[in-house]
């Protein structure tokens, strides 16, 4: 298929076929056009050929009548002897002429029938009808002609009876003889044949021939026209394809602006079409002339004319094919708009206006837009008094305004939603800016850029946090191995007998510190894991009451060892939350361990659970042993403890771990310090 499309031979063939078929179609078309008269008229006598022939006859007859009048006059003068000496020769010539006319108009030589009457219709002056024939029945259509005879000169009168010249004009001396008013009735029978050879039989034969061959011409025209069309379609299909080239190949034609090219081509086509039709008309009229039709050389002239018309038609079709071809190529190459001058001018203007509006400051846009709107509205309202059309336009303007406002409002809504989402923490979110008003889009794009930057920064931070966590984990793994040895050998030392009594004391310090080191490394790993979120969290429905019971069971003894009393207040029934049991236990464990470490001995620890607004809040309150000279926020930072000295057993990571774990489970962790009162509140989403 592709090969066929690219074949040069096929293209040349198609062009030749197109031209040949168009030429043939033109020839047949012209012939069909000429002979179409024979189809459209009901009788051959209604053709212009007939009219011109019968007018010719009538003119000849009237001339003949005039001639015989002149001859009569001359003969009278000769008889009176007042004639010119050479008048007899004139008379002779006139007589011969008259005989020839009589010969021409005799029944045997022509189908022309006439009757010459005085204008009152009473006196029959001459006819070529038989006695028993009535002219009205003999001829197809009767023609009338009235005229006046003035001493051998004819004053023409049309069939309508108007006088062409007034009698006084024709005969200024006002001689006595009054004009003879005559009426000629004439016509041709409908049925003629070749028994009498005259122009009417000729016209009839031509008409008959046209009538019988019209179908043939039309069929020829249609067939060749179809072939032309096929060739044209082929040319359009193959246009622009070339073997060895993937895309559409442009030619010099496509360099010309399409509209310019089209105007030139259409002008040429119209001109050629007019020429063709004009030539056809000329041929028709020329064939109307009977004598031309009878002559030998006329036939070749006629054929030449027909061929010329065919060539003109073919040229027109060729121009049309060129125009359509370049159109097809441009459409295929998708450069129709680009290569059209009007389009380019329009696009340039649109771009200029667009750029102008776009770079106009927003305030000016508002002012100009509103000004334009007001002027339009006022004009339409004032004009509205005169016609409903203006009122309709006014409403259309309002609709356009409404649409514009809705567009803006929707764009603003999207911008607002996007901003809300980004502000809500989803920094990855990108506002969709398609079909947004220009000014809002600028805003949205800036916001997107900010969010991309922020997301990148956050990503970086997360990465570095994760790296830190990994580092801490690896370091603590490496710490654990020597620590294992230390713990084990300290233990062994404890079981040996020491000579120096102080040695046992020193070993005790070593033991305590190695245990603390162990706790520190464990807490360190956990804190880094919790804060970077590498821990897996499986949230499920957890009973807070149950959990507090379990936690208290773990801690009751240790707390009472330190003379701390636990007072817990739980609401009626079980309180369900969504949390990870293990992590939540670690939170409570850390809080209670904090109490055990830092609460003043002999005080009470309050543990309250409250429900409300879809949240569950657990608060742990205790009185600090040492003054809390650190703000609450600082307490949650890593390695920060209530008292700055590091003598006690805590690692300073407990609260930090508790906060990270709570946040991992979607809760919040708050601390409050009021004098010596330390309060920690864990809030979690309630489950139903």
């Amino acid at each position: 298929m592709k090969k066929l499309q690219c074949s040069t031979a096929a293209k040349v063939c198609a062009v030749l076929v197109l031209l040949a078929a168009a030429f043939g179609a033109g020839v047949f078309g012209v012939r069909a056009l000429i002979s179409s008269v024979s189809i459209t008229r009901s009788s051959w006598q209604y053709s212009s050929r007939f009219y011109s022939a019968i007018d010719e006859r009538r003119r000849d007859l009237v001339e003949g009548i005039e001639l015989s009048q002149t001859l009569e006059e001359l003969e009278k003068q000769i008889a009176e002897g007042t004639a010119n000496p050479l008048a007899y020769a004139d008379a002779e010539a006139l007589r011969e002429e008259k005989a020839r006319v009589e010969e021409r108009f005799s029944r045997q030589n022509t189908w022309f029938r006439f009757r010459l009457l005085t204008d009152d219709g009473q006196t029959l002056l001459g006819t070529n009808l038989k006695d028993d024939e009535a002219i009205s029945r003999t001829v197809k259509e009767m023609h009338y002609f009235s005229f006046e005879l003035w001493d051998g000169s004819v004053n023409y009168d049309s069939e309508t009876g108007d006088l062409g010249l007034s009698p006084s004009d024709a005969n200024p001396e006002g001689e006595t003889a009054p004009p003879m008013k005559l009426v000629l009735e004439y016509g041709v029978p409908e049925k003629v044949d070749d028994s009498i050879q005259d122009e009417f039989s000729q016209i009839w034969r031509l008409w008959d021939m046209d009538r019988s061959s019209f179908d043939q011409y039309l069929t020829g025209f249609l067939n060749l026209g179809a072939l032309t069309l096929l060739a044209l379609i082929w040319i359009l299909w193959t246009a622009g394809h070339k073997s060895g080239a993937e895309e559409i190949v442009l030619t010099w034609q496509e360099r010309i602006f399409f509209d310019v090219y089209a105007v030139i081509m259409i002008a040429a086509i119209v001109f050629l079409a007019f020429c063709t039709v004009g030539l056809a008309e000329q041929l028709y009229w020329s064939s109307a002339s009977v004598y031309a039709a009878q002559s030998e050389s006329y036939t070749s002239f006629y054929n030449l004319g027909v061929a010329g018309a065919g060539a003109l038609f073919a040229a027109g079709v060729g121009c049309a094919a060129l125009l359509l071809r370049t159109f097809a190529v441009r459409v295929k190459a998708r450069c129709l708009g680009k290569t059209t001058l009007l389009c380019r001018v329009a696009a340039w203007m649109a771009r200029t206006i667009h750029d102008f509006v776009r770079f106009l400051p927003f305030t000016w846009k508002m002012v100009l837009g509103f000004g334009g709107y007001t002027v339009c509205t006022l004009w339409l309202i004032t004009q509205g008094r005169y016609g409903g059309g203006f009122i309709l336009m006014y409403f259309c303007l309002q609709l356009v305004l409404l649409f514009f406002l809705a567009w803006w409002a929707y764009g603003y809504y999207r911008l607002r939603q996007g901003t809300k989402t980004i502000a809500g923490g989803d920094l990855e979110y990108q506002i969709d800016t398609t079909r947004m008003p220009y000014d809002l889009r600028l805003q949205a794009e800036d916001l997107n850029n900010i969010s991309v930057g922020l997301a990148g920064a956050l990503d970086e931070k997360m990465k570095s946090e994760r790296f830190k966590a990994e580092l801490i984990t690896n370091v603590s793994h490496d710490l654990k191995t020597p620590l294992t040895s230390i713990i084990n050998y300290v233990n062994l030392l404890k079981s040996t007998q020491q000579t120096d009594p102080k040695a046992a004391e020193y070993i005790e310090v070593l033991d305590r510190k190695s245990q603390r080191l162990k706790k520190l490394t464990e807490d360190l790993v956990e804190a880094s894991k919790a804060s970077t979120g590498v821990l897996s969290v499986t949230r499920e429905k957890i009973g807070m009451g149950q959990l507090i019971d379990q936690a208290l069971a773990e801690w009751e003894e240790k707390l009472s060892d330190r003379k701390l009393t636990l007072v817990s207040t739980l609401p009626e029934g079980e309180t369900w939350v969504y949390a990870d049991g293990r992590h939540l236990w670690r939170v409570i464990d850390n809080l209670l361990s904090n109490c055990a470490k830092y609460a003043m001995e002999g005080t009470r620890i309050y543990l309250d659970l409250e429900r409300g607004k879809g949240q569950v809040a657990l608060s742990v309150k205790n009185i600090s042993r040492d003054p809390l000279n650190v703000p609450a926020e600082r307490l949650m930072e890593r390695f920060v403890r209530g008292e700055e000295s590091r003598s006690t057993e805590g690692s300073g990571l407990g609260l930090s771990i508790a906060r990270s774990l709570t946040e991992l489970q979607g809760g919040t962790f708050d601390l409050a310090v009021d004098g010596d009162l330390f309060k920690a509140i864990v809030t979690l989403p309630q489950a139903n």
């Binding site: 793994h477 654990k480 191995t481 020597p482 620590l483 294992t484 040895s485 230390i486 713990i487 084990n488 050998y489 233990n491 062994l492 162990k518 464990e522 790993v525 957890i542 009973g543 807070m544 149950q546 959990l547 019971d549 379990q550 208290l552 069971a553 773990e554 009751e556 939350v577 949390a579 049991g581 293990r582 939540l584 236990w585």
Partner: protein
């Protein structure tokens, strides 16, 4: 007399463990990487292996897998990693227990004893109609005796009843309220918080390390259960 293979790339740890185990009356064989451990296990009659995970040449996990191909000697993994995934991987590959570094020597000895008792019990007590077992825990309901690794432990009646309830439904989680209602045979009106305390005591009696229980597990916020198939 039992022989224990100790394998760690840290020689100090190996000798410390050697001292503890020898003082407990065990014979020891030492190895310092996975390959040596496999060789030692082939040349000696070994009753238990203590194996570090992170070692050069052949790590503990692969060595365990290799050893498991031809032997069912108890293997306790020593690991510096405390992530659950490492423990699960070790247990899946065929280890019987694990101890995280830095460990307490007393815990090591307790676990060694536990594993050896189980390994040498050779089928243990015959399964009577009233005998309920889970891992090392065996309860003879007829005689009202509970043993862990063959060692009898003394329980209060309430602890005994709680343990029986949990043992008869291994893997099932009981909340404090359920346990209270079934053991005390009373509706629980806020008095179920005593259950938690009883279970803590029970755990201290059964488990080697009650803070990290292997058998009687705390399902935080939901209740308690006996590990299925432990």
């Amino acid at each position: 007399m039992y022989t224990i293979l100790i394998c760690d790339d840290d020689r100090d740890i190996v000798s410390a463990l050697d001292i503890y185990l020898t003082s407990e009356g065990y014979q020891t064989v030492k190895a310092y990487d996975g390959r040596e451990a496999i060789r030692a296990a082939e040349t000696h009659e070994v009753h238990l292996i203590l194996m570090d995970i992170m070692m050069p040449e052949l790590d503990g996990i692969r060595a365990t897998a290799r050893l498991r191909e031809g032997s069912n000697v108890p293997i306790i993994l020593l690991t510096a990693k405390s992530e659950d995934t490492d423990k699960i991987l070790g247990l899946n590959i065929g280890a019987d227990d694990y101890i995280t570094k830095p460990f307490n020597p007393l815990e090591v000895i307790a676990r060694v004893k536990s594993q050896l008792r189980r390994y040498t019990a050779l089928g243990g007590a015959e399964k009577g109609p009233g005998l309920i077992t889970a891992g090392p825990i065996a309860m003879d309901d007829g005689a009202k005796v509970v043993t862990v690794d063959g060692e009898p432990i003394s329980l209060t009646p309430i602890e005994y009843n709680i343990l029986r309830l949990l043992l008869s439904h291994p893997g099932q989680v009981f909340s404090s309220t359920q346990i209270y209602e079934q053991v005390w045979n009373d509706p629980a009106y806020g008095s179920e918080n005593t259950v938690a305390v009883h279970i803590r005591h029970l755990r201290e009696k059964i488990e080697i390390n009650p803070a990290e229980p292997r058998y009687l597990k705390v399902v935080w916020g939901l209740g308690y259960k006996i590990e299925k198939g432990a």
